[in-house]
């Protein structure tokens, strides 16, 4: 109840929550507008992914997914789609369509299958009910190996993220907590690589991956991506805030440098690691260009590359693309839901002062 009052709180004319102040109106319009803008496309995607190919091509589009009603008619093997036809005298009847010829459709009454009727397609309307085209999901996942792609994507994302976290945090630890000649130069060099886009190094990177025999394997997708300048920079900046006294205390406590890294610095850098983990998962999950180049066999495709196979030169299978896009979205959404709170919690520095 209190939460509800909090949610519906208004500034009001006197500030006591009565009436609508113009700031209330602006706030509500702004927030609702923002919500629609943010969630609209995602919801539209989900709802569209449940529509059949014919309904997707329809104009104007419908908000909710519908399926055509069908009826089993004696003498016909397949179920026939049902339509509501309007006769010339204004009478409407529910008829099943046998076939369509030009602008006319041959229809029969399911109750009296012997009589064939010719109906102009302008005079009939499909009979539909709310329902989902589950086949959009079932067909790719079962028949088209999408589960395999899903597994590949999960493997690439998890391995790349783990290796990214370990290697980047090691580099960040050295660059933030050790003093050595050329430290700043190394840092500068790492950050400078931020300015080099993938498309520039695509060809040499391909040569390297080819020479190391990783072409066509998932490790060829994983390994070139694990050293990220963003990750090193992000972790280093965070580790700089971990007081040196903690490390010195650990050193006095007989901790080896590895233990200092593993038992002191890593746990304290957890918020930054969570941020990098989120970044890394989203990057690797959404990677398209590099996997497309490295992976050549269907069995090794990741989801994003797999999605691409539905967009042919002549025919784009939108219903499959939409459905599988929803599938690809789910893990990223989950990552955000579960790791988001880590971003806001800082635990380092709590034991100091």
């Amino acid at each position: 109840m209190n939460r509800l009052t909090f949610l519906l709180a208004r500034r009001g004319r006197t500030g006591a929550g009565r009436g609508w102040h113009w700031t209330d109106v602006v706030t509500w319009v702004w927030l609702i507008g923002g919500t629609v803008l943010m969630f609209g496309p995602a919801l539209w995607l989900v709802s569209s992914s449940l529509k059949g190919p014919a309904q997707l091509a329809e104009f104007p589009p419908t908000l909710l997914p519908y399926v055509q009603e069908t009826a089993q008619v004696e003498g016909y093997d397949a179920p026939l789609p049902l339509y509501r036809a309007t006769a010339e005298d204004g009478e409407t009847r529910v008829l099943a369509e046998i076939r369509r010829v030009g602008t006319n459709a041959q229809m029969i009454d399911p109750a009296a299958p012997d009589e064939r009727l010719n109906v102009n397609i302008a005079d009939r309307e499909p009979l539909r009910r709310l329902g989902i085209a589950a086949d959009n999901y079932v067909a790719p996942l079962v028949a088209n190996d999408f589960l395999r792609y899903l597994w590949n994507s999960v493997f690439v994302t998890v391995m790349a993220t783990l290796i990214t976290l370990v290697t980047n945090s090691m580099a960040a630890f050295a660059l933030s907590k050790y003093r050595f000649r050329g430290r700043d130069a190394v840092m500068l060099l790492i950050v400078a690589t931020l300015m080099v886009p993938l498309s520039v190094i695509l060809v040499p990177l391909y040569s390297v991956v080819n020479a190391t025999g990783l072409l066509g394997s998932l490790w060829g997708v994983i390994l070139p991506t694990v050293a990220t300048p963003t990750g090193v920079f992000l972790l280093r900046q965070y580790m700089l805030t971990i007081p040196d006294e903690l490390l010195e205390a650990a050193r006095m406590d007989h901790a080896s440098e590895w233990q200092i890294y593993w038992r002191i610095v890593l746990p304290l850098a957890a918020p930054a690691l969570a941020v990098l983990a989120i970044f890394s998962v989203v990057w690797r999950w959404n990677d398209f260009l590099w996997p497309l180049i490295v992976l050549s066999r269907r069995e090794t495709y990741t989801l994003q590359v797999g999605l691409n196979t539905y967009a042919g030169e002549l025919n784009v299978q939108w219903h499959y693309i939409l459905a599988m896009t929803v599938v690809t979205m789910i893990p990223v959404v989950l990552v955000f839901v579960f790791l988001q709170r880590f971003i806001t919690t800082g635990i380092a520095g709590a034991g100091i002062k």
Partner: protein
């Protein structure tokens, strides 16, 4: 055993020497306090002893063993940091046992030592908490506990009380003194607070700008400061210092008061505020106009200025009836005068 010796220690940072050849011996079981103004190198010196930093030249010896190149962990010392440096992601118990686990000590012994330290420091109920859930004083105890469980040759304490409020500081000071008595372990204590130094120390090392100015017992420093810096630094309020010239064994202070001074030439006469009393009628005395009176109840601190502007500070016993603007005549306790030569060194 915990005998620590420093031989000709120097330390430079980026070409600037901050410690200039320190020689020092800390005897086993002694509580030695390093005191000095900020930036005098006392914390640096402690870090050199701890092994967290290496001297540029010179040797550190513990029980006669040269440990200059030995790592911090292997010197057998324990340190309490100014910020406590407790591991924020571990419970108090984990904080205490971390150092012992690293030495692969059996679990049962770790538990026994932690429980013993917790009992000694009365932090038994806090063992499952995290440092964030502790008050400043409790964190301080945990930090000390982390040093105790190691059973070190010596404790190094870097301004351990500076983050506590005044009241807690006094009680923790007493507890630290009691702890030292009970453990009998060598302690080196760094502070800039001379009250802490005077109350805790067996011996005090006064440092200034990377040099040892004097090493002595607290009362030795108070009664016989070796130079002008120590004279001005130890004792509150600060010693009154008068620069003057001595001729024929006599030096004249502002106001015409004559005191004995051996030798001739420039000298500085020092009189502690406690060694000035209100002069009787005919007694030769310093004269000054009262500027400020601080009545503390048990004593009264009077700030005055002589005719030539020289500051005079005196501590009068009890609640003296002195008001700002009055002229007072102060006579020194002639046996307690301090005399320094032109270079600031004590003259006997």
């Amino acid at each position: 055993m915990g005998r620590i010796q420093l031989h000709g220690i120097t330390r430079s940072f980026a070409g600037t020497e901050v410690i200039h050849g320190v020689d020092l011996a800390v005897e086993d079981g002694e509580l030695v306090v390093f005191v000095g103004p900020s930036g005098c190198g006392k914390s640096t010196l402690l870090r050199l002893i701890a092994g967290l930093d290496r001297p540029t030249t010179g040797r550190v010896e513990i029980d006669g063993r040269d440990v200059t190149r030995v790592s911090a962990a292997d010197r057998g010392l324990a340190m309490v940091f100014q910020s406590y440096a407790l591991y924020p992601h571990m419970t108090v118990r984990q904080n205490l046992s971390f150092g012992l686990e690293n030495t692969r000590m059996p679990k049962a012994e770790i538990a026994a030592r932690v429980d013993e330290a917790a009992r000694m420091l009365e932090i038994g109920e806090l063992l499952s908490r995290r440092p964030t859930q502790l008050s400043g004083g409790q964190r301080q105890r945990v930090a000390i506990g982390r040093a105790i469980v190691r059973e070190p040759l010596a404790f190094l304490l870097d301004e351990p009380l500076s983050n506590l409020d005044a009241e807690l500081r006094v009680s923790m000071r007493a507890e630290l003194a009691a702890l030292h008595d009970r453990l009998g372990t060598t302690m080196i204590y760094v502070t800039h607070d001379q009250v802490e130094a005077m109350t805790l120390a067996d011996r005090i090392v006064v440092l200034r700008a990377g040099r040892v100015e004097q090493v002595d017992t607290p009362l030795g420093l108070f009664n016989r400061p070796g130079n002008l810096f120590v004279a001005g630094f130890i004792g509150a309020p600060n010693m009154n210092l008068f620069r003057t010239r001595a001729e024929g064994g006599v030096a004249e202070l502002p106001g015409g008061l004559k005191v004995d001074a051996r030798g001739a030439g420039e000298v500085t006469v020092g009189i502690r505020p406690q060694h000035l009393h209100l002069a009787d009628g005919g007694e030769a005395a310093l004269e000054g106009t009262v500027r400020l009176v601080e009545a503390l109840g048990t004593e009264t601190v009077v700030h005055a200025a002589a005719a030539d502007g020289t500051a005079l500070v005196t501590v009068l016993p009890g609640q003296a009836a002195v008001r700002p603007g009055e002229t007072i005549r102060l006579a020194p306790d002639r046996a307690a005068l301090h005399l320094f030569d032109a270079d600031g060194r004590r003259m006997e």
